[in-house]
Symmetry: C2
Subunit: 219 residues, 2 copies
DNA sequence: TTGCCATGTGACCAGCCGGTCACACGGCGC
DNA sequence: GCGCCGTGTGACCGGCTGGTCACATGGCAA
Protein backbone atom coordinates (compact mmCIF):
# COMPACT_ATOMS: atom_id res chain seq x y z
CA UNK A 1 0.00 0.00 0.00
CA UNK A 2 1.36 3.36 -0.99
CA UNK A 3 2.05 5.96 1.62
CA UNK A 4 -0.63 8.18 0.20
CA UNK A 5 -3.29 5.51 0.42
CA UNK A 6 -2.43 4.87 4.03
CA UNK A 7 -2.68 8.56 4.83
CA UNK A 8 -6.01 8.84 3.05
CA UNK A 9 -7.33 5.96 5.12
CA UNK A 10 -6.17 7.63 8.33
CA UNK A 11 -7.98 10.81 7.34
CA UNK A 12 -11.19 9.04 6.39
CA UNK A 13 -11.23 7.09 9.62
CA UNK A 14 -10.53 10.22 11.62
CA UNK A 15 -13.47 11.87 9.89
CA UNK A 16 -15.79 9.05 10.84
CA UNK A 17 -14.60 9.03 14.43
CA UNK A 18 -15.02 12.77 14.65
CA UNK A 19 -18.58 12.63 13.33
CA UNK A 20 -19.39 9.86 15.77
CA UNK A 21 -18.01 11.69 18.78
CA UNK A 22 -18.84 15.32 18.10
CA UNK A 23 -21.56 15.29 15.51
CA UNK A 24 -21.45 17.21 12.29
CA UNK A 25 -20.96 20.50 14.09
CA UNK A 26 -17.64 19.27 15.41
CA UNK A 27 -16.32 18.46 11.97
CA UNK A 28 -13.71 20.96 10.89
CA UNK A 29 -10.47 20.75 8.95
CA UNK A 30 -8.40 21.39 12.04
CA UNK A 31 -10.14 18.83 14.21
CA UNK A 32 -10.07 16.07 11.60
CA UNK A 33 -6.45 16.68 10.69
CA UNK A 34 -5.39 16.69 14.30
CA UNK A 35 -7.27 13.47 15.02
CA UNK A 36 -5.73 11.82 11.97
CA UNK A 37 -2.30 12.94 13.18
CA UNK A 38 -1.62 14.63 9.92
CA UNK A 39 -1.20 18.12 8.51
CA UNK A 40 -4.44 19.65 7.26
CA UNK A 41 -2.70 20.64 4.06
CA UNK A 42 -2.92 17.01 3.03
CA UNK A 43 -6.71 17.14 3.27
CA UNK A 44 -6.68 19.97 0.77
CA UNK A 45 -4.24 18.12 -1.51
CA UNK A 46 -5.85 14.69 -1.44
CA UNK A 47 -9.53 15.61 -1.08
CA UNK A 48 -9.67 19.22 -2.19
CA UNK A 49 -10.98 20.46 1.13
CA UNK A 50 -13.67 19.50 3.58
CA UNK A 51 -16.61 19.11 1.19
CA UNK A 52 -14.51 16.86 -1.01
CA UNK A 53 -13.50 14.78 1.99
CA UNK A 54 -17.11 14.38 3.04
CA UNK A 55 -18.14 13.38 -0.45
CA UNK A 56 -15.33 10.85 -0.66
CA UNK A 57 -16.29 9.42 2.69
CA UNK A 58 -19.94 9.12 1.74
CA UNK A 59 -19.10 7.48 -1.55
CA UNK A 60 -17.18 4.86 0.38
CA UNK A 61 -19.99 4.36 2.88
CA UNK A 62 -22.54 3.82 0.16
CA UNK A 63 -20.43 1.05 -1.24
CA UNK A 64 -21.06 -1.34 1.62
CA UNK A 65 -24.37 0.11 2.76
CA UNK A 66 -27.68 0.39 0.95
CA UNK A 67 -26.76 -2.64 -1.10
CA UNK A 68 -29.92 -4.62 -0.47
CA UNK A 69 -30.20 -3.28 3.05
CA UNK A 70 -33.12 -1.04 2.43
CA UNK A 71 -35.38 -3.63 0.93
CA UNK A 72 -34.62 -6.57 3.16
CA UNK A 73 -33.23 -8.64 0.28
CA UNK A 74 -35.27 -9.76 -2.71
CA UNK A 75 -37.65 -12.47 -1.58
CA UNK A 76 -40.37 -10.16 -2.83
CA UNK A 77 -42.52 -12.63 -4.66
CA UNK A 78 -43.09 -14.95 -1.74
CA UNK A 79 -44.37 -12.46 0.84
CA UNK A 80 -47.25 -10.09 1.32
CA UNK A 81 -46.75 -6.32 0.96
CA UNK A 82 -47.40 -5.88 4.67
CA UNK A 83 -44.61 -8.32 5.52
CA UNK A 84 -42.24 -6.60 3.11
CA UNK A 85 -43.01 -3.21 4.58
CA UNK A 86 -42.50 -4.48 8.09
CA UNK A 87 -39.12 -5.94 7.20
CA UNK A 88 -38.15 -2.71 5.48
CA UNK A 89 -38.97 -0.77 8.64
CA UNK A 90 -37.01 -3.23 10.75
CA UNK A 91 -34.09 -2.94 8.36
CA UNK A 92 -34.09 0.84 8.74
CA UNK A 93 -34.14 0.60 12.52
CA UNK A 94 -31.30 -1.89 12.54
CA UNK A 95 -29.16 0.13 10.16
CA UNK A 96 -29.54 3.22 12.30
CA UNK A 97 -29.16 1.33 15.54
CA UNK A 98 -25.76 -0.07 14.66
CA UNK A 99 -24.10 3.13 13.54
CA UNK A 100 -23.76 6.23 15.68
CA UNK A 101 -22.16 7.91 12.73
CA UNK A 102 -25.12 7.28 10.46
CA UNK A 103 -27.46 8.72 13.03
CA UNK A 104 -25.36 11.84 13.26
CA UNK A 105 -25.39 12.23 9.50
CA UNK A 106 -29.15 11.91 9.37
CA UNK A 107 -29.57 14.50 12.09
CA UNK A 108 -27.39 16.74 10.01
CA UNK A 109 -29.50 16.17 6.90
CA UNK A 110 -32.47 17.38 8.91
CA UNK A 111 -30.83 20.68 9.76
CA UNK A 112 -28.79 21.59 6.73
CA UNK A 113 -29.04 21.11 3.01
CA UNK A 114 -25.92 21.68 0.96
CA UNK A 115 -23.84 20.18 -1.81
CA UNK A 116 -22.91 17.26 0.42
CA UNK A 117 -26.14 16.45 2.22
CA UNK A 118 -28.41 16.96 -0.79
CA UNK A 119 -27.15 14.07 -2.95
CA UNK A 120 -27.26 11.76 0.09
CA UNK A 121 -30.85 12.60 0.91
CA UNK A 122 -31.90 12.44 -2.71
CA UNK A 123 -30.35 9.02 -3.22
CA UNK A 124 -32.24 7.74 -0.22
CA UNK A 125 -35.49 9.27 -1.40
CA UNK A 126 -35.13 7.67 -4.82
CA UNK A 127 -34.45 4.22 -3.39
CA UNK A 128 -37.30 4.51 -0.92
CA UNK A 129 -39.67 5.71 -3.61
CA UNK A 130 -38.96 2.78 -5.87
CA UNK A 131 -39.68 0.45 -2.98
CA UNK A 132 -42.92 2.14 -2.00
CA UNK A 133 -44.12 2.30 -5.59
CA UNK A 134 -43.78 -1.45 -5.82
CA UNK A 135 -45.74 -1.87 -2.61
CA UNK A 136 -48.34 0.59 -3.78
CA UNK A 137 -48.87 -1.46 -6.90
CA UNK A 138 -49.59 -4.55 -4.83
CA UNK A 139 -52.30 -3.04 -2.66
CA UNK A 140 -55.60 -1.35 -3.20
CA UNK A 141 -57.81 1.08 -1.36
CA UNK A 142 -55.56 3.27 0.77
CA UNK A 143 -52.72 5.76 0.58
CA UNK A 144 -49.87 3.35 1.18
CA UNK A 145 -47.03 5.88 0.68
CA UNK A 146 -48.53 8.29 3.22
CA UNK A 147 -49.25 5.59 5.79
CA UNK A 148 -45.86 3.93 5.46
CA UNK A 149 -44.27 7.39 5.35
CA UNK A 150 -45.64 8.20 8.78
CA UNK A 151 -44.42 4.91 10.22
CA UNK A 152 -40.98 5.17 8.64
CA UNK A 153 -40.65 8.80 9.69
CA UNK A 154 -41.73 7.73 13.14
CA UNK A 155 -39.04 5.16 13.69
CA UNK A 156 -36.42 7.49 12.21
CA UNK A 157 -37.41 10.23 14.60
CA UNK A 158 -37.38 7.88 17.56
CA UNK A 159 -33.90 6.61 16.64
CA UNK A 160 -32.57 10.15 16.31
CA UNK A 161 -34.32 11.32 19.43
CA UNK A 162 -32.68 8.67 21.57
CA UNK A 163 -29.52 10.77 21.67
CA UNK A 164 -31.04 13.60 23.67
CA UNK A 165 -33.99 12.03 25.48
CA UNK A 166 -34.41 8.71 27.22
CA UNK A 167 -38.17 8.37 26.75
CA UNK A 168 -40.90 9.35 24.32
CA UNK A 169 -44.49 9.34 25.57
CA UNK A 170 -43.16 7.33 28.43
CA UNK A 171 -41.74 4.57 26.26
CA UNK A 172 -37.97 4.08 26.71
CA UNK A 173 -35.88 4.92 23.64
CA UNK A 174 -32.69 3.23 24.80
CA UNK A 175 -32.40 -0.47 25.35
CA UNK A 176 -34.19 -3.50 24.03
CA UNK A 177 -37.51 -3.41 25.84
CA UNK A 178 -38.65 -0.11 24.38
CA UNK A 179 -37.86 -1.25 20.87
CA UNK A 180 -39.66 -4.53 21.36
CA UNK A 181 -42.73 -2.46 22.14
CA UNK A 182 -42.21 -0.30 19.08
CA UNK A 183 -41.79 -3.37 16.94
CA UNK A 184 -45.07 -4.79 18.17
CA UNK A 185 -46.74 -1.42 17.66
CA UNK A 186 -45.50 -1.36 14.08
CA UNK A 187 -46.91 -4.79 13.42
CA UNK A 188 -50.25 -3.67 14.72
CA UNK A 189 -50.26 -0.38 12.81
CA UNK A 190 -49.38 -2.21 9.63
CA UNK A 191 -52.63 -4.06 10.09
CA UNK A 192 -54.35 -0.83 9.08
CA UNK A 193 -52.77 -0.92 5.63
CA UNK A 194 -55.06 -1.74 2.70
CA UNK A 195 -55.26 -5.46 1.90
CA UNK A 196 -53.03 -6.94 -0.80
CA UNK A 197 -54.41 -7.54 -4.25
CA UNK A 198 -55.14 -11.20 -4.80
CA UNK A 199 -53.11 -13.06 -7.38
CA UNK A 200 -56.13 -13.25 -9.63
CA UNK A 201 -56.69 -9.50 -9.42
CA UNK A 202 -53.01 -8.96 -10.11
CA UNK A 203 -53.21 -11.01 -13.28
CA UNK A 204 -56.26 -9.06 -14.33
CA UNK A 205 -54.44 -5.82 -13.69
CA UNK A 206 -51.51 -6.91 -15.80
CA UNK A 207 -53.85 -7.87 -18.56
CA UNK A 208 -55.41 -4.40 -18.53
CA UNK A 209 -51.99 -2.80 -18.51
CA UNK A 210 -50.95 -4.86 -21.50
CA UNK A 211 -53.95 -3.54 -23.40
CA UNK A 212 -55.52 -6.94 -23.73
CA UNK A 213 -58.65 -5.91 -21.90
CA UNK A 214 -60.02 -7.54 -18.77
CA UNK A 215 -62.22 -10.21 -20.29
CA UNK A 216 -59.81 -13.08 -20.78
CA UNK A 217 -59.64 -14.14 -17.19
CA UNK A 218 -61.36 -17.42 -16.41
CA UNK A 219 -64.53 -16.67 -14.50
CA UNK B 1 -42.24 51.75 28.95
CA UNK B 2 -38.76 52.11 30.35
CA UNK B 3 -35.81 52.26 28.06
CA UNK B 4 -34.51 49.02 29.37
CA UNK B 5 -37.73 47.16 28.68
CA UNK B 6 -37.74 48.41 25.11
CA UNK B 7 -34.17 47.27 24.60
CA UNK B 8 -34.92 43.87 26.07
CA UNK B 9 -37.83 43.48 23.65
CA UNK B 10 -35.58 44.38 20.73
CA UNK B 11 -33.10 41.76 21.79
CA UNK B 12 -35.70 39.05 22.29
CA UNK B 13 -37.25 39.76 18.90
CA UNK B 14 -33.85 39.78 17.26
CA UNK B 15 -33.16 36.38 18.80
CA UNK B 16 -36.37 34.94 17.41
CA UNK B 17 -35.70 36.38 13.95
CA UNK B 18 -32.17 35.02 14.00
CA UNK B 19 -33.34 31.53 14.96
CA UNK B 20 -35.96 31.63 12.23
CA UNK B 21 -33.54 32.75 9.51
CA UNK B 22 -30.31 30.96 10.40
CA UNK B 23 -31.30 28.15 12.70
CA UNK B 24 -29.73 27.51 16.07
CA UNK B 25 -26.25 27.29 14.59
CA UNK B 26 -26.50 30.90 13.50
CA UNK B 27 -27.31 32.11 17.00
CA UNK B 28 -24.37 33.89 18.56
CA UNK B 29 -23.97 36.90 20.77
CA UNK B 30 -22.51 38.98 17.96
CA UNK B 31 -25.20 38.13 15.42
CA UNK B 32 -28.10 38.70 17.79
CA UNK B 33 -26.71 41.97 19.12
CA UNK B 34 -26.07 43.26 15.62
CA UNK B 35 -29.55 42.33 14.46
CA UNK B 36 -31.08 44.02 17.50
CA UNK B 37 -29.01 47.11 16.72
CA UNK B 38 -27.54 47.08 20.18
CA UNK B 39 -24.23 46.47 21.87
CA UNK B 40 -23.69 42.89 22.92
CA UNK B 41 -22.62 44.09 26.34
CA UNK B 42 -26.30 44.72 27.06
CA UNK B 43 -27.09 41.07 26.48
CA UNK B 44 -24.62 40.19 29.20
CA UNK B 45 -26.03 42.84 31.52
CA UNK B 46 -29.72 42.17 31.03
CA UNK B 47 -29.73 38.42 30.39
CA UNK B 48 -26.42 37.27 31.82
CA UNK B 49 -25.19 35.93 28.45
CA UNK B 50 -26.52 33.76 25.67
CA UNK B 51 -27.87 30.84 27.73
CA UNK B 52 -29.77 33.27 29.92
CA UNK B 53 -31.19 35.01 26.88
CA UNK B 54 -32.36 31.72 25.43
CA UNK B 55 -33.95 30.71 28.71
CA UNK B 56 -35.71 34.06 29.01
CA UNK B 57 -36.98 33.75 25.46
CA UNK B 58 -38.26 30.24 26.01
CA UNK B 59 -39.97 31.20 29.23
CA UNK B 60 -41.81 33.88 27.29
CA UNK B 61 -42.74 31.47 24.51
CA UNK B 62 -44.13 28.89 26.91
CA UNK B 63 -46.45 31.48 28.33
CA UNK B 64 -48.63 31.68 25.26
CA UNK B 65 -47.93 28.18 23.96
CA UNK B 66 -48.66 24.78 25.46
CA UNK B 67 -51.58 26.29 27.34
CA UNK B 68 -54.20 23.82 26.14
CA UNK B 69 -52.60 23.51 22.74
CA UNK B 70 -51.24 20.06 23.21
CA UNK B 71 -54.46 18.45 24.27
CA UNK B 72 -56.88 20.15 21.92
CA UNK B 73 -58.78 21.75 24.81
CA UNK B 74 -60.66 19.78 27.42
CA UNK B 75 -63.75 18.31 25.82
CA UNK B 76 -62.30 15.00 26.94
CA UNK B 77 -65.36 13.38 28.37
CA UNK B 78 -67.46 13.69 25.25
CA UNK B 79 -65.14 12.02 22.73
CA UNK B 80 -63.51 8.68 22.15
CA UNK B 81 -59.79 8.19 22.84
CA UNK B 82 -59.16 7.75 19.13
CA UNK B 83 -60.73 11.13 18.38
CA UNK B 84 -58.75 12.78 21.16
CA UNK B 85 -55.53 11.28 19.88
CA UNK B 86 -56.25 12.39 16.34
CA UNK B 87 -56.93 15.93 17.47
CA UNK B 88 -53.75 15.93 19.53
CA UNK B 89 -51.76 14.89 16.47
CA UNK B 90 -53.44 17.58 14.38
CA UNK B 91 -52.68 20.12 17.06
CA UNK B 92 -49.01 19.19 16.99
CA UNK B 93 -48.85 19.51 13.23
CA UNK B 94 -50.56 22.89 13.29
CA UNK B 95 -48.33 24.24 16.03
CA UNK B 96 -45.22 23.26 14.11
CA UNK B 97 -46.61 24.39 10.79
CA UNK B 98 -47.23 27.93 11.87
CA UNK B 99 -43.84 28.64 13.41
CA UNK B 100 -40.54 28.36 11.58
CA UNK B 101 -38.83 29.24 14.82
CA UNK B 102 -40.41 26.38 16.70
CA UNK B 103 -39.32 23.94 14.03
CA UNK B 104 -35.76 25.19 14.27
CA UNK B 105 -35.79 24.77 18.01
CA UNK B 106 -37.04 21.21 17.73
CA UNK B 107 -34.36 20.36 15.20
CA UNK B 108 -31.88 21.74 17.67
CA UNK B 109 -33.28 19.59 20.50
CA UNK B 110 -32.63 16.59 18.30
CA UNK B 111 -28.96 17.40 17.88
CA UNK B 112 -27.90 18.88 21.15
CA UNK B 113 -28.80 18.49 24.79
CA UNK B 114 -27.69 21.20 27.20
CA UNK B 115 -28.91 23.36 30.02
CA UNK B 116 -31.28 25.16 27.68
CA UNK B 117 -32.67 22.41 25.51
CA UNK B 118 -33.04 19.85 28.29
CA UNK B 119 -35.74 21.63 30.32
CA UNK B 120 -37.68 22.34 27.12
CA UNK B 121 -37.67 18.73 26.01
CA UNK B 122 -38.45 17.48 29.49
CA UNK B 123 -41.44 19.79 29.88
CA UNK B 124 -42.81 18.52 26.61
CA UNK B 125 -42.24 14.92 27.57
CA UNK B 126 -44.04 15.39 30.86
CA UNK B 127 -47.06 17.03 29.24
CA UNK B 128 -47.22 14.40 26.52
CA UNK B 129 -46.93 11.60 29.04
CA UNK B 130 -49.81 12.85 31.14
CA UNK B 131 -51.93 12.97 27.99
CA UNK B 132 -51.00 9.50 26.84
CA UNK B 133 -51.51 8.02 30.28
CA UNK B 134 -55.05 9.28 30.24
CA UNK B 135 -55.61 7.75 26.82
CA UNK B 136 -54.02 4.53 27.92
CA UNK B 137 -56.45 4.26 30.79
CA UNK B 138 -59.39 4.53 28.42
CA UNK B 139 -58.38 1.69 26.12
CA UNK B 140 -57.60 -1.95 26.44
CA UNK B 141 -55.61 -4.53 24.56
CA UNK B 142 -52.72 -2.76 22.87
CA UNK B 143 -49.63 -0.66 23.57
CA UNK B 144 -51.21 2.75 23.07
CA UNK B 145 -48.13 4.81 24.05
CA UNK B 146 -45.92 2.96 21.57
CA UNK B 147 -48.42 3.16 18.73
CA UNK B 148 -49.23 6.82 19.27
CA UNK B 149 -45.53 7.48 19.81
CA UNK B 150 -44.74 6.23 16.35
CA UNK B 151 -47.44 8.34 14.77
CA UNK B 152 -46.52 11.46 16.72
CA UNK B 153 -42.83 10.95 16.01
CA UNK B 154 -43.75 10.44 12.38
CA UNK B 155 -45.53 13.74 11.90
CA UNK B 156 -42.81 15.54 13.83
CA UNK B 157 -40.15 14.08 11.58
CA UNK B 158 -42.09 14.96 8.46
CA UNK B 159 -42.57 18.55 9.61
CA UNK B 160 -38.87 18.91 10.37
CA UNK B 161 -37.84 17.17 7.20
CA UNK B 162 -39.78 19.59 5.01
CA UNK B 163 -36.97 22.12 5.41
CA UNK B 164 -34.40 20.10 3.50
CA UNK B 165 -36.45 17.79 1.28
CA UNK B 166 -39.57 18.38 -0.74
CA UNK B 167 -40.87 14.79 -0.70
CA UNK B 168 -40.84 11.72 1.52
CA UNK B 169 -41.62 8.37 -0.06
CA UNK B 170 -42.94 10.39 -2.98
CA UNK B 171 -45.46 12.28 -0.87
CA UNK B 172 -44.97 16.06 -0.97
CA UNK B 173 -43.98 17.63 2.34
CA UNK B 174 -44.68 21.23 1.38
CA UNK B 175 -48.15 22.49 0.59
CA UNK B 176 -51.65 21.42 1.45
CA UNK B 177 -52.16 18.32 -0.66
CA UNK B 178 -49.41 16.29 0.94
CA UNK B 179 -50.69 17.07 4.40
CA UNK B 180 -54.23 16.21 3.48
CA UNK B 181 -52.90 12.78 2.56
CA UNK B 182 -51.01 12.49 5.81
CA UNK B 183 -54.10 13.50 7.74
CA UNK B 184 -56.15 10.80 6.06
CA UNK B 185 -53.37 8.30 6.66
CA UNK B 186 -53.35 9.19 10.36
CA UNK B 187 -57.08 8.65 10.58
CA UNK B 188 -56.69 5.24 9.05
CA UNK B 189 -53.71 4.25 11.21
CA UNK B 190 -55.59 5.30 14.31
CA UNK B 191 -58.12 2.67 13.37
CA UNK B 192 -55.53 0.12 14.44
CA UNK B 193 -55.59 1.37 18.02
CA UNK B 194 -57.23 -0.87 20.61
CA UNK B 195 -60.94 -0.16 21.10
CA UNK B 196 -62.13 2.11 23.91
CA UNK B 197 -63.39 0.63 27.12
CA UNK B 198 -67.14 0.79 27.32
CA UNK B 199 -68.69 2.88 30.02
CA UNK B 200 -69.85 -0.22 31.79
CA UNK B 201 -66.37 -1.74 31.72
CA UNK B 202 -64.99 1.53 33.00
CA UNK B 203 -67.34 1.45 35.95
CA UNK B 204 -66.34 -2.12 36.62
CA UNK B 205 -62.68 -1.16 36.45
CA UNK B 206 -63.20 1.61 38.95
CA UNK B 207 -65.01 -0.77 41.19
CA UNK B 208 -62.09 -3.19 41.14
CA UNK B 209 -59.69 -0.34 41.77
CA UNK B 210 -61.71 0.77 44.73
CA UNK B 211 -61.40 -2.72 46.16
CA UNK B 212 -65.12 -3.35 46.01
CA UNK B 213 -64.75 -6.36 43.73
CA UNK B 214 -66.36 -6.80 40.33
CA UNK B 215 -69.67 -8.37 41.29
CA UNK B 216 -71.84 -5.39 42.12
CA UNK B 217 -72.47 -4.35 38.55
CA UNK B 218 -76.01 -5.00 37.32
CA UNK B 219 -75.96 -7.94 34.94
C1' DT C 1 25.47 11.42 -9.17
C1' DT C 2 22.07 14.79 -10.21
C1' DG C 3 17.67 16.32 -10.16
C1' DC C 4 12.75 15.77 -9.80
C1' DC C 5 8.47 14.99 -7.69
C1' DA C 6 5.42 12.98 -4.15
C1' DT C 7 4.82 13.30 0.64
C1' DG C 8 4.65 15.74 4.76
C1' DT C 9 5.31 19.59 8.19
C1' DG C 10 4.81 23.89 10.68
C1' DA C 11 4.31 28.67 10.37
C1' DC C 12 1.60 32.22 9.03
C1' DC C 13 -2.57 34.97 7.56
C1' DA C 14 -7.11 37.36 7.95
C1' DG C 15 -11.50 36.83 10.04
C1' DC C 16 -14.74 35.61 13.35
C1' DC C 17 -15.99 34.23 17.98
C1' DG C 18 -17.27 35.10 23.02
C1' DG C 19 -16.15 37.95 26.70
C1' DT C 20 -14.56 42.18 29.23
C1' DC C 21 -13.32 46.84 29.95
C1' DA C 22 -13.10 51.82 29.95
C1' DC C 23 -15.60 55.45 28.84
C1' DA C 24 -19.70 58.79 27.35
C1' DC C 25 -24.16 60.47 27.94
C1' DG C 26 -28.18 61.95 30.54
C1' DG C 27 -31.71 62.09 34.04
C1' DC C 28 -32.54 62.47 38.97
C1' DG C 29 -31.83 63.39 43.81
C1' DC C 30 -29.00 65.83 47.16
C1' DG D 1 -24.65 73.64 41.50
C1' DC D 2 -22.75 68.65 42.30
C1' DG D 3 -22.31 63.70 41.93
C1' DC D 4 -24.47 59.21 41.24
C1' DC D 5 -26.29 55.56 38.63
C1' DG D 6 -28.79 53.42 34.68
C1' DT D 7 -28.11 53.02 29.87
C1' DG D 8 -25.39 52.51 25.96
C1' DT D 9 -21.14 52.36 22.93
C1' DG D 10 -16.85 50.93 20.81
C1' DA D 11 -12.44 49.12 21.47
C1' DC D 12 -9.85 45.52 22.87
C1' DC D 13 -8.31 40.66 24.19
C1' DG D 14 -7.11 35.66 23.53
C1' DG D 15 -8.46 31.79 21.05
C1' DC D 16 -10.10 29.32 17.44
C1' DT D 17 -11.33 28.85 12.43
C1' DG D 18 -10.35 27.83 7.35
C1' DG D 19 -6.95 28.52 4.04
C1' DT D 20 -2.19 29.18 1.98
C1' DC D 21 2.70 29.14 1.69
C1' DA D 22 7.55 28.04 2.09
C1' DC D 23 10.28 24.56 3.15
C1' DA D 24 12.28 19.67 4.50
C1' DT D 25 12.72 14.88 3.43
C1' DG D 26 13.24 10.86 0.81
C1' DG D 27 12.64 7.61 -3.00
C1' DC D 28 13.06 6.95 -7.86
C1' DA D 29 14.52 7.90 -12.58
C1' DA D 30 17.70 9.72 -15.90
Amino acid sequence: MSSRERTERQILEALEAQIRDCGMNGVGINAVAKRAGVSKELIYRYFDGMPGLLLAWMREQDFWTSRGDLLGSDESSARTPAALILSMLRGQVEALAKSDTLREVRRWELVERNEVSAPLADRRERAARSFIDRMDGLTDGGDVPAMVGIMLAGVLYLMLRAKTESHFLGVPLRGEEGWARYDAALERLIGALPPPLLESSLRELEAVRDGRGAGDRPA
